[in-house]
């Protein structure tokens, strides 16, 4: 399996948003903005270019839209590869966070 970690922040956030289920572009953007509490805001260009290439790399795949949805909107779903990459990345970040905690780089948040 080709590893593409470290994931770029937009890719990471998109995969994270899709971990909860299928979403269309606008839905992903909203989810990202919400989970990051406004800190991460994807520009339209970055979002759709990332989506296009993530499809090409097999990280995500286009799925049929739900029956009641606007037919113009494309829905996306994480592939196994995508989920694996996300897991790899999270483990990597987790490791870094643990090291940082151990070295007391930041005040522990409680």
């Amino acid at each position: 399996m080709p590893s593409i970690t470290p994931l770029r922040p937009p890719v990471l956030h998109i995969l994270l948003a899709l971990s909860q289920g299928d979403l269309h572009g606008l839905g992903i953007a909203e989810s990202v903005e919400e989970t990051s509490e406004g800190a991460m805001s994807l520009g339209p260009g970055t979002l759709y270019r990332s989506l296009k290439e993530m499809c090409q790399h097999g990280l995500i795949t286009e799925v049929d839209s739900p029956t009641d949805a606007d037919p113009r909107r494309r829905y996306y779903r994480s592939t196994d590869l995508g989920r694996a990459c996300l897991a790899d990345e999270i483990r990597r970040l987790d490791h870094i966070v643990n090291v940082a905690r151990a070295r007391q780089v930041v005040e522990p948040t409680s």
Binding site: I4, T5, P6, L7, R8, P10, V11, H24, G25, L26, A29, S41, G43, P44, G45, T46, L47, Y48, R49, S50, K52, E53, M54, H57, L59, R72, R73, R74
Partner: protein
């Protein structure tokens, strides 16, 4: 009635910018994602606009556009968005941001030096941007202050405007007694306020000037929901005539005239010759009800006598509609509830005062449904739309021109870009140098433009604009306006800086070196783009030129139609006998003495009293019931302009008597009241029969019938450009005149007579005040001052358009000639005539010029038909105006293209070919 809000306009233009930028992506990408990207952008834009305001929306647009440009660049160059960056970052001690910054400042510095190296290009581009932004910002600021700027009230959505109908049945204004009735609805309204404007003379340290005031009920600040900054303000006691005269000073006026004196409350000032006590300073943000004008002073209802004794009387008169009423709705009450309450009031008033209130509705306007006044709003929207259209055209011209210049310049810089790339510069570095240059131009030009806009706004108060009241115009520049125009120009600059940059990246640079000037050094600008830019400029210029020509034609045509009076050799003066303190019955005799003295002067043929002059908006009207005439709308009466004039008035004015007689010595106090009508009035009210012997009366007095004794030829009543308007003359000797105009016809110079007036009039009594004098001809001409201002402004626009168009055409033809220099050289060497070379160069742009002009003419024809009502004297598609516009543009276009074409033909073919 709903108007697109500023938010809509902003959202619309911002998404336009975004959609335009989408063109930077390759076609395949656009086809796949364009729709969704626009949807995402617009959804977020709307949400930011609603929740966080205009600045957040602009910020979102800026970041999105930046993101879009970066990703478009990546997409074009095939850089991945997913795989990690493999090239190691250069190891520097600085942070990434600092590095970017230093690269960009370096880039800007080089761009600056490059611009200094080509001063003509730089000057041209800068002035285009500066004019585009300057004119546009100034005009939009003006329109903004008229149409969009929200009033500085507390909870403005709870404020409603209430109008009684005019005699014509349109919501208009309210009588003071009706206002008092409205205040009784305290379950519907938390507060109700009445106001009426007045221009008063303010005397300070011996100097006098006019100030803009409003007489307001004590509740006026409760309605807008604000408190005075200083002092107690008005109390209900101040609504009672006889309580004294009290004023609240506008915050701005307090700062400007009293240097923000904290002890101002309790001081006394002299207005209209009376002492007025200051009881407060208004809230900082509140400018009064005369938007967009600023009120200097608010005066209590107890002070209305300052504006004249009649203002005290009309506080009790239900037939006098002098007041504007605004109310604050009680909590939970909707405008519809208020309307229902006011309808019951209207019904009650109709029952109680059938003479004057039959069919007179009361209408409640919710906040946002009325801006200045229901009647004025129509004109306002029209005028503003017109202004914005014109300004948009100029902006379009400026942007296409900037695009023109940048494209041409970009093409000439291609060899340089090729050298840089050959020497190993990255794509990004080359593109950056292009973008830095256009960015620098846009920003510098934009700053110049803002300075220009400020200067223009300073100038506005000095212009005789058709404004609703005297006073200062509120023209603080709006941040959003600045952001909008600035953004637009920067986007144009960047966009047309990017186009050549992308081209520079795709060009085969080996070709640039090998091909010499015959090859790629002057890359082809696509013919469609070249032609398109030229035609847009032609079309926009012709519309501006014709609009200007139409307005000028309207003004000159109105002047040549004349006022219907023989204004030549007539002089006038405004005199006031009030200071003499005469008994009521003494006035007529005193006026007679003055008139006789004037008539005895050498050269003077006749003199007469009057209360208004022809072709001027100043002058009263009476709601009149006409015997045997039933108006189709309203309350059964017509609002008829009225003038009180002396016996020899028509002789002075040279107005012919059509029928009956003029006033004579028999028409005096106590004799049968008589009137004389203008021809239009007589024909309209009694078509096909004689008006003599018919009767009219003021609506308010059922017994005061006046008999028509004469009909005179029409003269213009309110303005030179008006359609025939009815007017009624009453005998000056039948009423008590304290203040009047004296008009006299002389065989000599009327200005001389005017200057001798004060001495003649005051010969017996120096206490008589002579406020102003002049000759009638220039007075009538001055009535067209606002039309002339508009014509001047348009002429400036049109000149600007011509200049921009010629610059655009010139640069395009020069470019084309430079590109074709070798070909022209060969043709000349083979013996082609100069003329045929010129013709072939001109021919290249013939189609573009022709199609642009045709398009412009079509738009102009539609525009002229739309303007038929506004410019009646020009009469729609005016051949003279059209041919003037077309000819001047053709001339300029010809010169702008002939000069470079001729230069090419005059070049020595040998040297052209040697250069290659």
């Amino acid at each position: 009635m709903s108007r697109p809000t500023l938010a809509d306009a902003l959202a619309f233009s911002l998404s336009g910018v975004f959609r335009l930028l989408l063109l930077a992506y390759p076609r395949a990408f656009r086809r796949a994602f364009e729709a969704e990207m626009s949807e995402y952008f617009e959804c977020t834009l709307r949400r930011r606009l609603e929740r966080r305001g205009a600045l957040a929306a602009i910020w979102w647009t800026a970041t999105s556009c930046w993101d879009l440009l970066l990703t478009a660049y990546d997409e074009c160059s095939g850089r991945s968005a997913v795989t990690p960056k493999t090239t190691p970052r250069p190891v520097t001690r600085r942070r990434q941001g600092d590095r970017m910054l230093s690269v960009m400042t370096g880039e800007l510095r080089t761009a600056f030096r490059r611009l200094l190296g080509t001063p003509m290009f730089t000057l041209g581009a800068l002035s285009i941007v500066a004019f585009g932004i300057g004119v546009n910002t100034a005009a939009f600021t003006l329109v903004n202050s008229f149409l969009f700027k929200p009033p500085a009230w507390n909870e403005p959505e709870r404020v409603v405007s209430i109008y009684q109908d005019s005699d014509d049945g349109e919501p208009n204004s309210t009588s003071f007694p009706a206002y008092r009735d409205m205040t009784a609805f305290d379950d519907v309204f938390e507060a109700v306020a009445a106001s009426t404007p007045a221009t008063l003379r303010w005397k300070r340290d011996g100097a006098e000037r006019e100030v803009a005031t409003e007489f307001v009920s004590a509740s006026f600040l409760d309605v807008v929901g604000l408190r005075p900054l200083l002092g107690p303000g008005f109390t209900p006691e101040h609504d009672r005539v006889g309580a004294g005269a009290f004023a609240i000073v506008n915050h701005r006026f307090w700062q400007a005239e009293f240097a923000g004196d904290p002890d101002i409350v309790g001081r006394s000032i002299e207005l209209a010759g009376q002492p007025v006590t200051i009881v407060g300073v208004g809230p900082r943000q509140f400018g009064g009800n005369l938007m967009p004008m600023v009120t200097d002073l608010w005066l209590s209802i107890s002070s209305v006598g300052l504006g004249g004794e009649y203002r005290i009387e009309n506080l009790e008169r239900r037939q006098d509609h002098w007041y504007d009423v605004k109310a604050r709705l009680a909590p939970g009450v909707t405008p519809a509830d208020a309307q229902a309450a006011m309808t019951t009031l209207a019904t009650r008033l109709e029952r109680e005062y059938p003479d004057i209130n039959t069919n007179r509705d009361i209408t409640v306007f919710a906040y946002g449904d009325v801006r200045l006044h229901p009647d004025a709003d129509k004109n306002l929207n029209q005028a503003s739309a017109g202004t914005m259209a014109l300004v948009g055209l100029v902006l379009l011209l400026a942007c296409t021109n900037l695009a023109n210049l940048l494209t041409v310049r970009g093409m000439t810089r291609l060899p340089e870009a090729a050298v840089r790339r050959a020497l190993g510069a990255s794509n990004a570095a080359v593109a950056r140098s292009f973008i830095a240059e256009s960015l620098l131009l846009s920003v510098l030009g934009g700053l110049l433009g803002l300075a220009l806009a400020r200067a223009l706004m300073r100038l506005t108060p000095a212009l005789p604009l058709p404004l609703p009241a005297a006073g200062a115009l509120d023209t603080a520049m709006d941040l959003r306006v600045v952001a909008f125009t600035f953004g637009l120009v920067i986007v144009t600059g960047v966009l047309f800086g990017i186009a050549p940059a992308l081209r520079a990246l795709s060009v085969d640079f080996a070709g640039v070196f090998h091909g010499g000037s015959r090859g790629a050094s002057l890359q082809r600008i696509p013919a469609v783009l070249r032609g398109g830019l030229v035609s847009i400029q032609m079309a926009a210029s012709i519309v501006l030129l014709i609009a200007c020509a139409l307005v000028v034609r309207n003004t000159t045509a109105a002047l040549s139609l004349g006022a219907g009076v023989d204004a030549n050799r007539v002089a006038w003066a405004l005199a006031d006998l009030e200071p003499l303190g005469l008994e009521p019955e003494q006035y007529a005799a005193r006026w007679q003495e003055i008139l006789e003295r004037i008539e005895s002067a050498p050269g003077v043929d006749a003199a007469a009293l009057a209360t208004r002059l022809p072709a001027n908006g100043r002058g009263g009207s009476t709601t009149t019931v006409i015997e045997g005439y039933e108006p189709t709308t309203g309350t059964g009466a017509v609002e008829l302009p009225v003038a009180w004039v002396g016996p020899r008035y028509f002789e002075v004015m040279g107005q012919a008597l059509v029928e009956g007689r003029v006033f004579g010595p028999e028409d005096r106090d106590g004799s049968t009241p008589v009137v004389i009508l203008g021809e239009t009035a007589a024909r309209r009210y009694w078509p096909g029969e004689s008006a003599i012997g018919k009767r009219v009366r003021p609506q308010s007095d059922p017994d005061a019938w006046h008999q028509v004794v004469g009909v005179v030829a029409d003269a213009k009543v309110r303005s030179l450009a008006e359609p025939p308007t009815p007017i009624m003359f009453q005998a000056a000797d039948q009423v008590e005149m304290r203040r009047a105009l004296i008009v006299a016809r002389t065989q000599g110079d009327p200005t001389q007579l005017a200057s001798s007036y004060p001495d003649e009039i005051r010969a017996d009594d120096a206490q008589i005040e002579v406020a102003s004098t002049g000759d009638l001809e220039s007075y009538i001409r001055d009535g067209l001052a606002s039309e002339r201002t508009i014509a001047t402004v348009l002429a400036v626009f049109a000149a600007l358009a011509l200049l921009l168009a010629s610059l655009g055409i010139y640069s395009m033809v020069s470019y084309s000639v430079a590109r074709r220099a070798p070909e022209i050289g060969i043709r000349m060497a083979l013996g082609a005539a100069k003329r045929s070379v010129i013709v072939s160069v001109l021919g290249e742009f013939g189609i573009a010029l022709g199609s642009g002009m045709t398009l412009g003419l079509l738009i102009s024809v539609v525009m002229a038909q739309q303007l038929r009502d506004v410019l009646p004297a020009a009469g729609g598609v005016d051949p003279l105006a059209f041919s003037a516009g077309v000819l001047s543009l053709l001339l300029v276009a010809f010169v702008a293209s002939y000069v470079p074409a001729r230069r090419a033909a005059a070049a020595d073919p040998a040297s052209t070919l040697r250069d290659d």
